[in-house]
């Protein structure tokens, strides 16, 4: 299904990451946005509030982030693509209802423009320290999909990709950008609507009375039941069975949680998106995501000029983490280096998957600025010894 040309601002623009994220959501067909202002994500809400009236969308600034997340779930159940945006403190507030979105299996998109934390932290400066929270922020066992754009152009494209993933896998999808990408202005080329592929929600073809919300299917994703069409379904955040009815015992828990986990784990190969460069025959591989994946470039170029065989992997999807690939690489390279604007979050995953088969290094800091390429270069040199 193609994007609707009414929504797409085809052309060459000079936009910052936040504006591009908003345009991406709109191009994907988002028609409901509920948010709360929080630096550095506010421009997304502001742009959406400007664009929506003439394209039939509703923007509502909710009273807090808790309400924002609940409202986008409600709108999604009403059949409308919905999104919200926030940053660290708001992300924490949204966690309970994010879990509800996972449990109810509701498609929607949440953009977290990360800033320095913890607590109020550094509102106007970048960080990448919410990555583990993206993975485990809500309580309980579940899997997430989180994307990390590295530029305004990617912010546009990944917003669309996030909507497609959410409609395909029936879950909230995270776009974990950061203040640097969000406030960086670059050229963004928005293609014509016919070139934008959208995945539409799959509704059941069964009659009311014969369809249940969480019917077991081979791929683990059940067709949606439309509201207001006589299906009279029930869905709950309590542990439930295929009928959506709450069942409080260990067997139902096992079945329910397994379903949520398998939904992502059985499709990791389709979901994971890595961009690898010079990894064949590399001695050292540098992994990064978001803005950091651009900052590593000068350091790698410098090291390669000196003959060091260093490759790079940009993680476009950060979650699910590319376990298989890292385990494979760990047996082939000397060192793996993770560059992120925190004191080791996704690094912990890389280290775990390396399982001692190679050296692992973290180039991290508390946030507030992007890395200095020299710091990365130093670690590459260290890793080579």
């Amino acid at each position: 299904m193609k994007a609707n040309p009414k929504n797409v601002l085809t052309g060459s623009h000079y936009l910052d990451g936040n504006h591009a994220s908003a345009e991406g959501g709109i191009a994907a067909g988002c028609k409901f946005f509920a948010g709360y202002p929080i630096t550095p994500s506010t421009e997304i809400a502001e742009r959406v509030s400007r664009r929506f009236p003439l394209i039939g969308g509703v923007f509502i600034q909710m009273e807090d982030e808790l309400a924002s997340m609940a409202a986008i779930l409600g709108a999604s159940w009403g059949g409308v693509k919905s999104m919200s945006c926030t940053s660290g403190p708001g992300f924490s507030l949204m966690m309970e209802n994010f879990g509800l979105g996972i449990m109810l299996e509701t498609p929607c998109v949440l953009v977290n423009v990360q800033r320095g934390g913890p607590s109020t932290g550094l509102p106007t400066l970048p960080g990448q320290a919410d990555m583990m929270q993206a993975r485990w922020g809500s309580h309980g066992d579940y899997e997430v999909i989180a994307l990390a754009p590295d530029s305004p152009q990617e912010s546009f494209e990944l917003a669309i990709h996030a909507f497609n993933l959410s409609e395909k896998y029936h879950m909230p999808v995270l776009v974990m950008t950061d203040e640097c990408v969000g406030h960086m202005t670059e050229k963004v080329v928005i293609p014509p609507a016919e070139e934008i592929e959208l995945i539409e929600r799959r509704y059941t073809d069964k009659e009311p009375g014969e369809a249940w919300p969480y019917e077991p299917t081979e791929e683990g994703i059940s067709p949606f039941l439309p509201v207001g069409k006589g299906y009279k379904f029930h869905v709950t955040g309590l542990t439930h069975d295929y009928r959506g009815y709450p069942i409080i015992n260990a067997e139902a828990q096992e079945a329910n949680v397994r379903r949520l986990i398998d939904k992502v784990n059985n499709h990791v190969d389709e979901i994971i998106w890595l961009e690898e460069k010079n990894v064949e025959g590399a001695e050292i591989v540098v992994m990064a995501y978001g803005i950091s994946s651009r900052v590593i470039q000068p350091a790698i170029t410098k090291a390669r000029k000196e003959g060091i065989k260093v490759g790079q992997i940009k993680m476009v999807t950060v979650w699910p983490f590319p376990e298989k690939r890292v385990r494979e690489l760990a047996g082939q390279v000397k060192s793996l280096i993770m560059v992120e604007m925190n004191y080791g979050q996704v690094f912990l995953e890389m280290d775990r998957c390396a399982a001692g088969k190679c050296q692992t290094y973290l180039v991290g800091h508390a946030g507030g600025t992007v890395h200095r390429p020299d710091d990365i270069y130093k670690i590459i040199k260290e890793a080579v010894k």
Binding site: K31, G57, G78, G228
Partner: protein, 297 residues
């Protein structure tokens, strides 16, 4: 002189009339003997039937708590959401599908404590949903803790020596936030409650009905008030009907007079009315009034 003809009125009902609206595969429900929630659900069911609404067009959203379980027992498109967040969820659902009648059915703790912020803002916006709040003065599901509606001196699991905090006056709270319809009845006034629910459902804007209901296992037991039946007898002897009463004067003190009636019934443009009017004014003919979230299709 007028002539009236009384028609044949034999009614044949083979099953309980409520069964049309209930998920019979989940009955009997979990509510205690002499709990007033079942009665309130009956009032809702009769109201829906008398209004002759197409049940396909009604959605119900509830939160967490004893009353929150209502979504699980009513045979409508129903959503059992997180604690306190039924109202914003219903807001999102309503905006996506303004053609549906969205009902929020939840308890006092859920709507007024953790959900308090959402209650006042959604009332402020005058979003066209109907909220039915079952007030049993306590957090029943979790074992009887004090609630923001618990009267002073009442005992509860977390106010073992008697509550000393001022409780909320819910009609005042919702009326001052901007609700266009505010009424309070007890579970005993089941017929008037049905009328109030019918009025609330047909009213355009944020309509709120508070239902004082007996809680036998927690509120009554912890305060040694007998059973839910004793509480119903108390409502019988101590409720005073005062339509149009000033919401400021309908506080509920411990085991004293309960003022019931319809307190607020005004007209005000709804959230979507205001949205459409403002954009129409700004954009003129370029603006297509919002009628639902699938304008592309």
């Amino acid at each position: 002189m007028s002539t009236k003809v009384i028609q044949d009125q034999t009614q044949e009902r083979e099953e309980h009339p409520m069964e049309r609206l209930l998920r019979m595969d989940r009955i009997p429900h979990i509510w205690c003997p002499t709990c007033g929630i079942g009665t309130t659900v009956t009032a809702l069911a009769v109201a829906l039937e008398q209004l002759q609404l197409d049940l396909n067009d009604v959605a119900i959203v509830s939160g967490i708590g004893c009353t929150g379980r209502v979504a699980g027992y009513t045979k409508l498109d129903s959503f059992h959401t997180t604690h306190g967040r039924a109202i914003p969820f219903a807001l999102g659902l309503h905006i996506a599908r303004p053609d549906l009648k969205v009902i929020v059915f939840s308890g006092d703790g859920d709507l007024v404590s953790i959900g308090g912020n959402h209650l006042i803002h959604t009332a402020r916006r005058n979003v066209d949903i109907t909220v039915i709040c079952v007030n049993n003065f306590i957090y029943a599901m979790t074992g009887g803790q004090v609630a923001p509606t618990t009267p002073i001196t009442a005992r509860s699991a977390t106010s073992p020596y008697g509550n000393y905090e001022h409780p909320f006056n819910i009609p005042l709270l919702t009326a001052s936030s901007g609700a266009v319809y505010v009424a309070r009845w007890t579970a005993l006034h089941v017929r008037r409650l049905t009328v109030a629910i019918k009025e609330a459902l047909t009213k355009r804007g944020f309509s709120f009905v508070e239902v004082i209901a007996p809680c036998s296992t927690l509120y009554a037991r912890l305060n040694k008030l007998g059973s839910g039946l004793d509480l119903m007898k108390f409502y019988h002897d101590n409720s005073v009907i005062r339509h149009g009463a000033d919401p400021k004067e309908v506080n509920i003190d411990y085991q004293s007079k309960i003022v019931v009636g319809k307190f607020v019934d005004i007209e005000k443009p709804t959230y979507l009315d205001c949205l459409n009017n403002a954009y129409k004014k700004k954009f003129g003919d370029k603006y297509k009034p919002y009628g639902g979230g699938n304008g592309d299709k």
